[in-house]
Symmetry: C2
Subunit: 351 residues, 2 copies
Amino acid sequence: MVPRVVYGKGSFNQLSEIVEQKRITGAAFIYLIDDVFENSTDLTCRIKLKGNDEIIFVSAKEEPKTSQVDEIVQRLKSSYTLMPGGIIGIGGGTILDLTKAVSIMLKNPGKAEDYQGWDLVKIPSVYHVGIPTISGTGSEISRTTVLTGPTRKLGINSDFTPFDQVILDPDLTQGVPKHQWFYTAMDCYIHCIESLNGHFLNAFSQSYGEKALELCHEVFLNNLSDSKKREMLMMASWHGGMSIAYSQVGIAHAMSYGLSYVLGTKHGIGNCIVFDHLEEYYPTGVKLFKEMKEKHNIVLPQGLCKGLSDKDINTMIQVAMSLDPLWENALGKNWRNQINAEVLERMYRKM
Amino acid sequence: MVPRVVYGKGSFNQLSEIVEQKRITGAAFIYLIDDVFENSTDLTCRIKLKGNDEIIFVSAKEEPKTSQVDEIVQRLKSSYTLMPGGIIGIGGGTILDLTKAVSIMLKNPGKAEDYQGWDLVKIPSVYHVGIPTISGTGSEISRTTVLTGPTRKLGINSDFTPFDQVILDPDLTQGVPKHQWFYTAMDCYIHCIESLNGHFLNAFSQSYGEKALELCHEVFLNNLSDSKKREMLMMASWHGGMSIAYSQVGIAHAMSYGLSYVLGTKHGIGNCIVFDHLEEYYPTGVKLFKEMKEKHNIVLPQGLCKGLSDKDINTMIQVAMSLDPLWENALGKNWRNQINAEVLERMYRKM
């Protein structure tokens, strides 16, 4: 779990005070910031750079890659004699996941791809801070950083992955474009459905999942002020992330990873595209998803996989089926009795 | 926040594996355990002592005191040349609070009473683990350890107070006597009412408080299996603790601290005695409290303060009124317009 968290509208202003307490003389703080903020002085002028601190703007157009992590780490290692004193990520899931992975890889030998899996990281990461600017991914609280590697899309799941500090400032999520807002929020909604309907569920995850789901319902089906919605959605993301941190995601995530690996589909929209076709597995959840989609006039892309080559579809299926814990959570130990390449191809071809 | 938590029936069995990862050669692990378990080998035989590890049984009959913390610290310092590698607390709020305070005071100079207040601790505490055996106090998650000192009852609130690791095993709460079960659970219920009706509430605390309150309703007003109740109440305590960690408690706690300071009333029952008379301030919460009390045939002690000397009543009032943040949370900045010695004396005399 994240040991320290600050919540509140305007709490971003506490950033400098918080990180200065962790300042190691001569060591830089590196800010990885979503490049949508590159020309927005509103945000960057509130960051107080000192000494050799540096802002690196990173595009979040594509899903984060292990190679991208290795490049940033290489760049930092060659630019700085002293290990950075902290990595501060400001952005959505992509930036937060990159921040977590960079802070791990600055301390651990080898390549980021070597650590995709569960509990492979042995050396504590550099101090890292997460500041979400969009709500839903749960990356701010989770113990994973999901990366696309040369052979698979899989998280670095470890005790050293979670942020040391999180700042939750709902005001930072103002101005997110509507479709992106919806897709990212649905990541949280889908986390909850997968967690609450999973075999790994326990009372701990259940209590978080139920609260997150309730908040999603209020945000997407009730009429609240935008400010209230931002606050509640930020908490939904947080609780949804906690719910899966102690259980697991399911079919939508497994299949969405396949989609993303082959087509580069971003995680939020990928989840939505897949989930829209999962009535058989999550009937109530999908029904409500369709209601929310309609209420907010969201039209999902169609026919992404229709004309794909057999090779591509097979890769997709392989990536999806390699995620045993996700399938086991969704369908139990004998999930392979229900899921095989043929079943998945039929489902993918509809998307 | 607590950085690491394990949840689940039987998860207590993971204790040895968890603490061994933190073993420093030659340094002892000290187990502070509620003395109700002194003759129950069921629990103690599952603890794997090594080297100079030691179990200290502590009575939880009285509220924890700063002097008691100083004594345990003194005893450990004179018995061990090396600083203990960890303090593991197994018990209710009293034992958990003692564990947190001992782990702080092993590293910080002076007496425990010097640190009663907010953010006075400067040196990180010894690694400490909390394992609740009764649900409701929220001590397992909170950043405070409430102690009775020579001049006041007040918490050591600091970033170094929370446990490094918590093990939540609902099975450990089996066998708690009914009245104690009720009083301690009501600590959680009252946390939620005070937090949700407080001026310091924000969306973060609200989401935790609402979930904890919902779980309390289910446990106390619905008909669930005992096993399910234990699981849900353990999560209620956790979320209730989180809710007040980021907001504040209120009138019941302020007045209960006064009661406890003068009469030594235990925290859980003290809260209940006070809360029962707070219809004016928390009408809905008190109404439901009375329903729960009735459903579970709980009869609260009466007339505790009736015959008290003026001196005692004045001390009680002074202790209660010294807790500014609690009153401000309950009634706003101008709380002194509503609350004075006369008002409090009238209320106390009814209890």
